[in-house]
């Protein structure tokens, strides 16, 4: 029988839905990590399990019983929680704080019984805060505070331990220390552990299973190797990642590296032929990586033109909303004359900007390298005779190189 079970749970803060149809079971003695981008609903799942947030629909069970039927005092003997950061505004010492874990175990006015003392001592011994017992909590370091907060939760002697980003404020060393501590508790005390984590690699290293959340839905659940897939992560986190899996080890996730800053002297002069916002991101990355960028012709007010101005990139400009005229073309020829590379972006073609192709052709004639974006060619040819496509293909056969992702442009720049 699972220790925690969520069945088609929907939850909302005021009117904003945060969990959609989440079904999830956590076995007794399991260690599950809830992962996913910010706002995906991981913390909300914890809040639902602790009863802080009542689900709009669906059912939450702890063991055999429904959560809503469990009285608060009894729930505190079943589920303990370690918050992201415990704040204690009054000068409690660590010992006094950990004793609060027994709040609902003993009678209202009873002294600490032998059982209580044993639980408190054990919790402090496990978390290694025995020597800190006389120290005021607020004077502890971040790592010590988090261990004391864990001791408080352990003193409740529950079957289930929930942690919300428990190591978010800790440095690398203390993160590992804390996770190893959890590992011991999970293995030796058969504690069921559910935690949210931003650190996919730590979670993969320690947890038996991961549950990946995206926009309030459970996107995937399973072993780290099942869940940590490049495609899935790219979709949920909206960034390129690589997953390395060495045999016998937990998979490691690494964000795809952005191109390095070009060392001085290696920087290329890159002229960008763009329009309609198709070049802004490329210009930004070129400037960030230390290349000398220029662009144009562009219509004034075009978002690429605005990006060029903001980034201090020299640009040949034409009046707003008009075809690229000879004057702008001459200016563009001038600033692109000593470019090492011309890059044509994923720009939509119409009769007004076919001149871009002329410029690219001239560059090829000069022996300058030309990179042409080849994505969705058909869909962005708005010329009446569909002449942009054949002209682009002609350029490609004449030696221009096709590209689809910006990374390819930077790889090409590194080669030159």
């Amino acid at each position: 029988m699972p220790a925690i079970e969520l069945q088609s749970v929907f939850a909302a803060y005021r009117e904003v839905d945060v969990l959609h149809d989440v079904t999830l079971a956590v076995a007794a003695g399991e260690w599950l990590a809830l992962v996913g981008p910010n706002g995906a609903g991981k913390s909300t799942v914890l809040r639902v399990i602790t009863g802080l947030l009542k689900p709009r629909a669906g059912m939450v069970r702890l063991g055999k019983r429904e959560l809503r039927e469990i009285r608060p005092a009894e729930r505190a003997r079943w589920v303990a929680v370690v918050p992201q950061e415990l704040s204690v505004p009054l000068p409690f010492t660590v010992g006094e704080l950990v004793a609060l874990g027994r709040t609902n175990v003993r009678q209202r006015w009873a002294r600490l019984a032998a059982d209580d003392r044993r639980a408190i001592e054990r919790a402090m011994a496990y978390t290694d805060v025995l020597e800190l017992r006389e120290r005021p909590f607020e004077e502890l370091s971040g790592g010590e505070k988090q261990r004391a907060a864990l001791a408080l939760a352990l003193a409740q002697e529950t079957q289930i331990l929930l942690l919300d980003e428990p190591t978010a404020h800790l440095d690398l060393n203390h993160q590992w220390e804390f996770f190893q501590l959890l590992e011991r508790l999970n293995r030796e005390c058969q504690l069921t552990v559910v935690m949210t984590s931003h650190d996919l690699n730590l979670a993969a290293e320690f947890c038996a299973r991961l549950a990946l959340f995206d926009h309030g839905r459970l996107a995937a659940i399973g072993t780290p190797s099942d869940v940590l897939h490049e495609d899935l992560l790219r979709e949920t986190y909206h960034c390129d990642v690589r997953v390395r899996q060495e045999s016998g080890r937990a998979p490691q996730v690494q964000p795809e590296r952005q191109p390095r800053i070009a060392p001085p002297g290696v920087a290329s002069r890159v002229h960008v032929l763009a329009g309609g916002g198709s070049g802004a991101e490329l210009l930004r990355r070129l400037v960030l990586t230390g290349h000398h960028a220029s662009c144009g012709p562009l219509n004034m007010g075009d978002s690429d033109a605005q990006a060029a101005t903001a980034l201090d990139v020299p640009a040949a400009l034409e009046k707003p909303f008009s075809s690229l005229g000879t004057e702008a073309l001459v200016a563009a020829r001038k600033i692109s004359a000593d470019a090492d590379v011309l890059v044509l972006t994923e720009v939509p073609f119409g009769p007004g900007n076919l001149a871009l192709l002329t410029l690219a052709g001239e560059a090829l004639d000069r022996g300058t390298r030309v990179l042409i974006n080849t994505r969705n060619l058909e869909q962005r040819d708005f010329t009446p005779q569909r002449e942009a496509q054949p002209r682009l293909r002609a350029l490609l056969t004449r030696g221009a190189v096709g590209w689809q992702h910006a990374d390819e442009v930077f790889q090409a720049l590194e080669k030159s």
């Binding site: 505190a76 009054l90 609060l100 874990g101």
Partner: protein, 324 residues
């Protein structure tokens, strides 16, 4: 254990302080002869006054301790949060309308009603942005407090001349309760409310960690918060009905006691009650003797002592993070 020994010590000190205060009066520090009519009268007056002072001091000090725990704000106090001013407006209304003639309960009831409204106002104003901000609470307390005081001043300036002296004298804070019956009712209310908060001591400990942690520890934060705020308001209202506006007791005493017995409320609340009672009785003895035969209202004494003490406390505690 050291902390519990301090509690015993306070328990032993309290009767000594009370008897000591009985000896002190505007007429000099002599034990009046209980065999004479005059002696009995003086003794009874002094006894009333000492009991009143002890009840009010205990009530205000514990109200402060409870507010600090529930609102998680070490600077919270009935006077600072405007609860006293609210109670004062309620009591002033009752006095000026002459309702005190109907029932001894009129004064505490009026004080309680307005005090509850005031605290509710301060709380909602401070909660405007989703959570209770430490400084928002103090700011709205100061503002609501001055509004309530201004309303009381307005009432006083519109009131007929007779009875004015009573209100103003009462406002300054003095421990000579109007009648024995009022003293009984006020002291009984304070005693009941004290027992109530003592019963909540364990939950108050959990609440200082914040409503969510309290929930995780099995305490229902909404219920306990409402109960504790209600009881703190009752303590304040009864104290104000008995003695008018007396500030700083709820700030000085709990802070001092936390240093002595720690922040756990099972010890802190009894210690605060005892120390608060003694503190006010001693302040009153000072007020009676300092410029004898002229009396200084006890509210003036506590503020004169409390202000510098609070500043000293603030400076000393500045290094500790819980007084930012």
């Amino acid at each position: 254990m050291k902390n519990s020994r301090i509690l015993w010590l306070l328990g032993l000190l309290a009767p000594v302080a009370l008897v000591g205060a009985l000896l002190v009066g505007g007429s000099g520090t002599i034990w009046p002869d209980p065999r004479t009519e005059l002696g009995r009268a003086i003794l009874s007056l002094r006894l009333n006054r000492v009991v009143c002072g002890f009840a009010v001091g205990a009530g205000l000090a514990v109200a402060g301790a409870v507010l600090q725990a529930v609102l998680r704000n070490p600077l919270a106090e009935p006077y600072v949060l405007g609860v006293s001013s609210g109670a004062g407006l309620g009591a002033g209304l009752v006095i000026l309308l002459g309702w005190t003639a109907y029932s001894v309960f009129a004064l505490p009831a009026g004080a309680f009603l307005l005090a509850v409204i005031t605290l509710a106002l301060v709380y909602t104003l401070a909660r405007q942005h989703g959570h209770l901000s430490r400084y928002g609470l103090l700011l709205s307390g100061v503002i609501i407090s001055s509004v309530m005081s201004s309303l009381l001043m307005l009432l006083i300036s519109l009131a007929p001349v007779e009875g004015l002296h009573g209100v103003v004298w009462w406002l300054l804070g003095n421990l000579q309760a109007d009648s024995g019956a009022l003293l009984m009712v006020g002291a009984a209310l304070i005693a009941v409310a004290l027992l109530g908060v003592l019963w909540l001591a364990r939950d108050l400990d959990a609440l200082t960690l914040g409503p969510e942690m309290a929930h995780h520890l099995g305490v229902s934060p909404a219920i306990i918060t409402a109960l504790a705020l209600g009881l703190a308001t009752l303590l304040t209202a009864a104290a104000v009905a008995l003695s008018g506006m007396i500030g700083f007791v709820g700030l000085i005493v709990p802070h001092g006691m936390r240093g002595l017995v720690g922040p756990g409320h099972r010890r802190l609340l009894p210690a605060t009650a005892l120390a608060g009672g003694m503190f006010l009785v001693l302040c009153d003895a000072l007020g009676r003797t300092l410029f004898a035969p002229v009396e200084v209202p006890v509210g003036v004494v506590t503020s004169l002592l409390g202000g510098p003490f609070f500043l000293w406390l603030l400076r000393r505690r500045r290094s500790a993070s819980w007084v930012e």
